[in-house]
């Protein structure tokens, strides 16, 4: 059984007991425990079921490489699936649930998969099995697989994450990722040069695994050296230290993501849960250590089989042992340290099986001296299946697994050698080289990730570089720190020699299969990837089926996928692949290392963007008034505009119709502040506008307005609006609401890239002005009343301010600019005042307008009023494929001008094609409203057997003014087909019949606006 030991446990505080629960069972641990160590202390070895075969699975590792111990953590709005027990710090009240089992962890029906069907569930099984018959996938196979497969449960979709998150931008000369002895040494060396240094450590404590492994640095035990060095660094002004912060990804231009877990160990304490550090580092040192590899023997997934160094971590760090009788299997010297640790803790080490015929070095001698039986050239043939290790069969490594000796044991510590953590090095293009002696890929310093200047911006330090011995590690780290500081522009320094103590180790031996010639029955029980249930036999099958590329094999077998991304399985898997293909390992290569190193929360990525700051909302100065006067909001880009103002008991439709009628009969007010207002000034401004607009703007007289169209250089209609000539070299261009920023950028682009020598400046003054459209037969009356109240103001008569003129002056005491322009066909003034006075001006209009029947109107009323007049709307009548000629706007295309943007494009054959669909009005025969976007169908069918389309609806409304449905649409040969009735099939199964008419439904002669 796994239990708490009496003494060991350098990270736990036995005086602080912590209660937590696992699958509802109340358990106890100590402060400093991880969830994993606390589970082991409570003899909870079984932590989950495997993905495909639902085999019982236990803890294999003690860090972020753990593939099995994924739990659902927390409850309700703090529930999160797939949390690693090994990286979860224990806290009071922690509630964890195991995943991937049914009906319970102990008794799982899916385990039958393993017993009876495993020979069918081989590599590529899904692809082979479920492809036929086709409909079965959607209706039979997929629902079945989804029920049985998958990792954790998604959180309840009705609940919102209870926590907040944030980002933090940080800049430094040298970023050190990893706070083990190598990272600390590198940081110390870099900091000594005066560089600004940031050190990130993913765990809550410094020092990495050296304090567990032993050895002295500068005459101090590792723990003491770590404490001293951290204190020294902490005291330096140019050094920042962060624990619980993982270096998650390395990106171009020295951009690094750090993932800080602030309250995961104390949920609900307030403040952000995670903080995403967005770091720009001139140089980055990755001191990310190494990960131990499992050995591939049959039954290596039985709970109780654990990585040797991880088992040592549990003993030394947390004072727990996974078993009482332990077998150690290894191909290197390091695992002997585990035998020593276990022995010192009073745990029986039944046998050390060393695959090397020649055995180990100093450590092996030490183990023998402790009286532990060491056998060389020996291997594990098989661990007996079950929920715990009970029996281990031993055989010769260099055989097929016969002539076994069976011994009793309840845990197995395995070590297949060490692989440097090369992920961060590789994220941005760092290349690897194969180290035959250590049987691992290590970073190739000659092929580092390079920055904008072609020079390396990532340096590795310590085990992450390849060396595993303490002395080499410390020298490498000191050199890395010095190199990074120098590359970051600090003076070159010679790294100090770091004195260390170390035992002599014998070379390791590459072991990819145990025993070396294991038969197929053993290979089918030999796991490579625990998380995805991929076995040696699966990779071999894939290779036989022609999967030579490691990337293809990964997808086919799922080796190295999911949340651990093959931290334990990659090297072992590709070694098997190489062996089966008869290739060398470096020729097969690795799969791509992509960020993040370890999963990070979606919340951290989103940062502060949730709730009221999820997205910026743009508000006009009159927003609050709209909001408290019944506005039904419509999003227009980031703006919110009132769609209609609802009165109590009124439907949206009713409100719109009321607004339409009132504006035609009395007086309407529209908040038009969102319309773009671009000021264009300079000696070449007229020439510039003549190029941008299809019609002539340079000839516009001061004080006059002109409606203009803008096209892209491809000829398509892009934006429209009224242009006013302000003075000799200044124009004010109104754009659509959505066009303000876009057209501003469009103007700047042409001025900066093409006509850079033209003397023109543009300023986007959209937000400087609140603009109110005062519309309807009573428009002039209300404005004149305001002037009368103020004791004077600008003359707003027809004679003084005619249609399509503008004037500066005062209205009702407000400094204002008045435009006589109309998008409604009514008598209309658009009045611009300073945005800061917008609300006051609106209030004055509402107050003074009472006697004239004033009502505000929203965007839907605006749309209907313009449609009744046949005015086009950018985005309705246009969609990026429509040219002005399609809309009958030939009158706005200057024939005098030599050129304008779009002119040449519009002359191309397709653009001049008389078969292009053209704008017409549409009137349903029965007065109903045509469905928006409906297509008109003609005779015959197309190549796909669909009815030919001959037109479509672009705008359609109920018009309260004419009391019937009105619409506009683009129809093939439309203007020549007046009076024809077309069929528009709706999605509701009905066929709508509409007659082609002129697209003006109201006041065809424009008398109302010109009074």
């Amino acid at each position: 059984m796994s239990t708490r030991l009496a003494k060991q446990g350098r990270l736990i505080d036995r005086s602080k007991k912590i209660e937590f629960s696992f699958n509802g069972k109340k358990l106890k641990g100590f402060a400093g425990d991880t969830l994993a160590s606390a589970l082991l202390a409570n003899d909870q070895m079984l932590v989950g079921r495997s993905f495909k075969y639902h085999r019982p699975r236990g803890l294999v590792a003690a860090g972020s490489e753990e593939p099995n111990a994924l739990v659902g953590l927390g409850v309700g709005d703090r529930f999160e699936p797939n949390q690693r027990a090994t990286t979860t710090e224990l806290f009071s009240g922690l509630a964890a649930q195991s995943q991937n089992h049914w009906p319970s962890l102990e008794y799982d029906v899916g385990e039958l998969n393993s017993k009876f069907f495993s020979r069918f569930l081989t590599a590529g099984f899904y692809y082979k099995m479920f492809i036929h018959p086709r409909p079965f996938w959607k209706h039979v196979y997929e629902p079945f697989i989804r029920q049985s497969a998958g990792l954790g449960k998604a959180p309840d979709k009705e609940l919102k994450d209870a926590d907040t998150y944030e980002h933090f931008y940080y800049f430094c000369d040298v970023l050190v990722i990893g706070g083990g002895v190598a990272g600390l040494q590198a940081a110390k060396t870099a900091a000594a040069s005066g560089a600004k240094v940031l050190v990130l450590e993913e765990k809550c404590n410094w020092g990495g695994r050296t304090p567990v492994d032993g050895g002295t640095i500068e005459g101090l035990e590792a723990d003491a050296w770590v404490a001293k060095t951290v204190a020294e660094l902490d005291a330096m002004d140019n050094v920042t230290l962060r624990t619980r912060t993982m270096g998650a990804g390395v990106y171009d231009h020295g951009y690094i993501l750090g993932y800080e877990r602030l309250t995961d160990h104390a949920p609900g304490q307030g403040g952000p849960r995670h903080r995403l550090w967005r770091i720009r580092a001139t140089q980055t040192v990755t001191a990310t250590g190494a990960i131990e590899r499992p050995l591939s023997f049959a039954g290596n997934d039985v709970p109780g089989v654990m990585l040797a160094a991880s088992m040592r971590d549990y003993v030394v760090n947390w004072g727990v042992t996974p078993g009482q009788k332990v077998v150690v299997a290894t191909n290197n010297d390091d695992a002997y340290r585990t035998a020593i640790s276990l022995h010192e803790a009073g745990v029986e080490v039944v046998r050390v099986l060393d695959t090397r015929e020649s055995g180990g070095g100093d450590l092996a001698d030490k183990v023998r001296a402790l009286g532990i039986r060491v056998e060389c050239g020996r291997a594990i043939a098989k661990v007996k299946d079950g929920k715990r290790v009970t029996k281990v069969a031993i055989c010769a490594q260099n055989g097929e697994g016969g002539a076994r000796e069976e011994i009793e044991a309840d845990a197995v510590a395995m070590s297949g050698g060490w692989s440097p953590v090369v992920h961060l090095w590789s994220h941005c293009g760092g290349k690897l080289t194969w180290d035959d002696a250590q049987a691992h890929f290590r970073p190739d310093p000659e092929r580092a990730p390079t920055g904008h200047d072609g020079k390396p911006f990532v340096v590795t330090a310590g085990c992450a570089s390849g060396p595993l011995g303490l002395s080499e590690v410390m020298q490498d780290a000191a050199a890395a720190g010095a190199r990074a500081a120098e590359a970051a522009g600090r003076p070159a320094t010679k790294p100090a020699e770091v004195a260390t103590s170390e035992l002599v180790e014998a070379p390791m031996e590459a072991v990819w299969l145990m025993p070396a010639k294991a038969d197929i029955k053993l290979r089918m029980k030999t796991w490579l990837d625990y998380q995805n249930d991929v076995k040696v036999s699966d990779v071999q099958l894939a290779a036989r089926e022609g999967y030579e590329s490691v990337e293809h094999t990964k997808r086919y077998t799922t080796l190295g996928m999911a949340t651990d991304q093959g931290k334990l399985s990659n090297i072992n898997g590709l070694a098997i692949l190489a062996d089966t293909l008869g290739a060398e390992i470096p020729q097969v290569g690795t799969t791509t290392f992509r960020p993040p190193y370890h999963p990070i929360s979606m919340g951290a990525i989103g940062g502060e963007a949730r709730g009221d700051i999820f997205q910026p909302l743009r508000k006009t100065p009159i927003y609050d008034w709209h909001d408290s006067n019944g506005a039904h909001w419509e999003p227009v880009g980031h703006w919110r505009r009132p769609y209609a103002y609802l009165r109590s008991g009124e439907s949206i439709h009713d409100a719109v119709n009321r607004e339409v009628k009132n504006t035609r009969d009395n007086l309407g007010l529209l908040d038009a502040s969102t319309l773009g207002k671009l000021i264009v000034k300079g000696p070449d401004a007229g020439k510039f506008l003549d190029m941008l607009y299809t019609n002539m703007m340079s000839t516009l007289k001061i004080g006059k307005c002109r409606y203009g169209l803008m096209c892209s250089e491809n000829g398509f209609l892009d934006d429209d609006g009224v242009v006013a000539r302000i003075d000799e070299d200044t124009w004010l261009c109104h754009t659509t609401t959505g066009g303000a920023d876009r057209i501003h950028a469009h103007m700047e682009e042409w001025l900066q890239t093409e006509w850079w020598d033209w003397k023109v400046y543009v300023t986007n003054a959209t937000e400087q002005l609140a603009q109110v459209a005062v519309v309807g037969p009573n428009a002039r009356k209300v404005l004149e009343k305001l002037n009368a109240q103020a004791g004077g103001g600008m003359d707003l008569s027809k004679e003084a301010l005619a249609f399509m003129e503008w004037k500066d002056g005062e209205i009702g005491g407000f400094t204002a600019r008045a435009y006589r322009i109309s998008f409604s066909g009514e008598l209309s003034y658009e009045i611009a005042v300073a945005a800061s006075e917008g609300q006051a001006f609106w209030n004055a209009l509402v107050e003074a307008g009472k006697e004239f029947g004033v009502m505000p109107y929203g965007t839907e009323c605006l749309h209907i009023l313009r449609a009744e007049k046949g005015f086009i709307m950018i985005g309705d009548e246009t969609d990026g494929t429509v040219i002005p000629q399609d809309l009958g706007l030939h009158w706005a295309l200057s024939k005098k001008k030599e050129d304008y943007l779009g002119k040449r494009a519009q002359a191309r054959s397709h653009m001049a094609d008389p078969d292009r669909w053209q704008l017409v009005g549409l009137e349903t025969v029965d007065g109903s409203v045509l469905p928006d976007g409906a297509y008109a169908v003609g005779n015959g069918t197309n190549a796909n057997g669909q009815k030919n389309t001959i037109g479509r609806v672009t705008s359609t409304y109920y018009s309260a003014t004419v009391d019937r449905g009105i619409a506009m649409g683009l129809v093939k040969h439309g203007p020549k087909r007046m009076g024809e009735v077309l069929d528009f099939p709706g999605t509701d199964g009905k066929i709508y019949k509409a007659k082609i008419v002129e697209p003006i439904f109201y006041d065809k002669d424009g008398e109302k606006q010109n009074v």
Binding site: T164, E608, I613, Y761, Q768, A834, A835, A840
Partner: protein, 189 residues
């Protein structure tokens, strides 16, 4: 005029740092050749300040001039004086290709002050706020999370932010969230 109100009516919040909407500020976008003696004289006349270097703000006795782009300055003057200053710029720069536009009402102004002000801003703006990098007189046109903004540090250690008026509410809520009392980073403060 007495009718003029700022977007948020002077809202303020005290958290890690103090966040305040500081009311209406007079602002002029001036575009022109910044190397021209005439422009430099006009800027001096308007604000008392010299034309600033790249990413700097210079304070004068009647306002300040901030660098916005190679051909654009933001002139800061009293709100009530803006129209007069724009008119004067027009006179001073007659014959010189330029543009001077009142943008005071297009903007919202904020101040962030207190020990943790640097950290609060560093949560939302991708700018190096180390005191060796961002000092009094530094001016930066950047973004605050999802919106455009510009900011500078004054001699008293207060950060001043300007953004578009329409997003004043977003900016305020954003800064308040970043100044949450329990969200101290501990790097600059």
């Amino acid at each position: 005029m007495s009718n003029a109100v700022s977007a948020l009516g002077g809202a303020s919040f005290a958290g890690l740092a103090k966040v305040e909407e500081t009311g209406l500020g007079g602002m002029i976008t001036l575009r022109g050749d910044l190397a021209s003696a005439k422009v430099q004289a006009a800027v001096k006349a308007a604000t008392g300040a010299a034309v600033p270097d790249t990413r700097r703000i210079v304070f004068g006795d009647a306002g300040a001039a901030a660098w916005m782009s190679p051909d654009e300055l933001l002139l800061l003057v009293e709100y009530e004086r803006v129209d007069a200053v724009v008119a004067k710029l027009g006179e001073d720069l007659a014959g010189e290709h330029h543009m001077a536009v009142n943008v005071s009402d297009a903007r919202a102004c904020f101040a962030v002050s207190g020990e943790a002000a640097r950290e609060v801003i560093a949560k939302v703006a991708p700018v190096d706020l180390d005191d060796g990098q961002f000092e009094a007189g530094t001016f930066r046109r950047t973004r605050f999370a999802q919106i455009a903004g510009a900011f500078w540090l004054d001699d008293a250690g207060t950060f001043h932010i300007v953004c578009f008026r329409s997003v004043a509410g977003y900016m305020y809520n954003l800064l308040c969230a970043a100044a949450h009392p329990q969200s101290k980073v501990g790097v600059y403060a």
